[in-house]
Amino acid sequence: MSLLNEMSQKAFDMGVPISVHMDVTYRCNERCVHCYLDHEDHGEMTTAEIKNVLDQLAEAGVFFLTFSGGEVFLRRDFFEILEYARGLMFNVKIKTNAVMIREDEARRIRDLGVDTIQISVYSHRPEVHDAITKLPGSFVRTIKAIRFMRDQGLKVTIANVLMTWNLHDSDGLQKLAGEVGVHYTLDPTITPKMDGDTSILSLRIAGEELPEVFRNPALVPNLEEFCAPPKPVSEDDLEGYSCSAGHSFCYISPYGDVFPCVQFPLPTGNIRQQKFMDIWNHSPELKEVRSIKAKDLTTCSSCSHVSSCTRCPGLAYMEGSMRGPSSADCEKSYYRTGIPTANMLRKAGQGPVGSLVQIRPLAALA
């Protein structure tokens, strides 16, 4: 185990929030087709409020801090916030679409000692990227900004969200990232909108397409291990937890709401009304999230994938229960290994629900 993993595990065991994702705005200059956010400003925290939160986070032991949005650079005070955060010695990562970053901004970001910049790019083809962002010219501006930041010696990662619109563009984009000299990551996860609207889930790529991603050696270095059937479930596996959400990680919205994760919209408190540590230590919702072990999961505890599945408790919560399955992750486990999950088998037994091909008597179709 690396030293970094060792310290992360220590934070998890001690319940220290070592990592926080903070959205400083939901406003955005792009209107991406798959975005889950409401871009209206319903009362963002002020500069002073955010600085106060940062003081509290430093006191609480937060080390890794991600600033995201919305588009962070739409806040005119973003550099002031960034400078304050670095003054408190957070390891800072920024997620941005980069269209507002020019040479000066790239230099300032480097001078402030930001660790990583993650930039959303959806295709190597400008027309596809711009169609997804609905901002004409965004591809050209974003790629130009990536080059500015690379030239400053910053660590840049292109993050691609794979969906129906760009399904076959991953290889081309990965090649472009290589040519520009930056890292590349890919995520096929599309989440429902914050208000529960699931219409954008139609952009998810079909499960049958997932093997193209999972079995691509350019994306998955340890292919054989990654696609191997799950190992037999042990007692230790059943005593384990899903992820760090609520244990050593949390999410703070631009309005001061605290959630276990950006993908886990379970309200646990508001930082405008309570101290961060009061929420972190005493929120009944966070205590409940922390109490759930693999053995407590309604369907997944009996699933052969339980120890290796990427089951997201937030997606499960949005699907109906934080103790239930996350169907999107069930599909990933199935198409990664070829072995159906307990949730898929349960649904198949219930009737025409779920993703497995079913054979029904003709009479039933009448």
């Binding site: 690396s2 030293l3 970094l4 310290m7 220590k10 934070a11 001690m14 220290v16 070592i18 430093a58 006191e59 032991g61 937060v62 080390f63 670095r86 003054g87 408190l88 010695m89 957070f90 390891n91 800072v92 001078d111 402030l112 000692g113 930001v114 660790d115 990583t116 010696g153 660590k155």
Partner: protein
């Protein structure tokens, strides 16, 4: 003998966890943890206080360590961290625009 002055690089992040100081350099993502004594030196690295004085006031007095041994260990520690760009070292006081305080 010239004095040695040390200050923390502006490219680093740092935080205390369970009595250990985690330090990460954003330039190359190197990650360190510092023990209690190293943390005391680290926190006193303000660019103005000579290393000899830091060792006397922060190490010898607080940890009851022999002065010569503490000075040797501190110089080795400073040399190692400066090679990784975590600490900046000079024989003159180092002006700093800000003196971040890791908690």
């Amino acid at each position: 003998m010239p004095e040695t002055y040390i200050t923390r690089s502006s490219a680093i992040a740092a935080r205390m966890l369970a009595g250990e100081m985690m330090v990460m350099n954003s330039m190359d993502s190197t990650f360190f943890t510092l023990n209690e004594v190293a943390t005391a030196i680290w926190q006193a690295a303000d660019g103005r206080t000579p290393l000899r004085e830091i060792v006397r006031s922060q190490v010898c007095e607080q940890f009851d360590i022999d002065a010569d041994q503490a000075q040797t260990d501190a110089e080795q520690f400073v040399s190692e961290l400066s090679q990784h760009g975590i600490l900046l070292v000079s024989d003159q006081p180092i002006p700093t625009t800000r003196a971040p305080e890791a908690r």
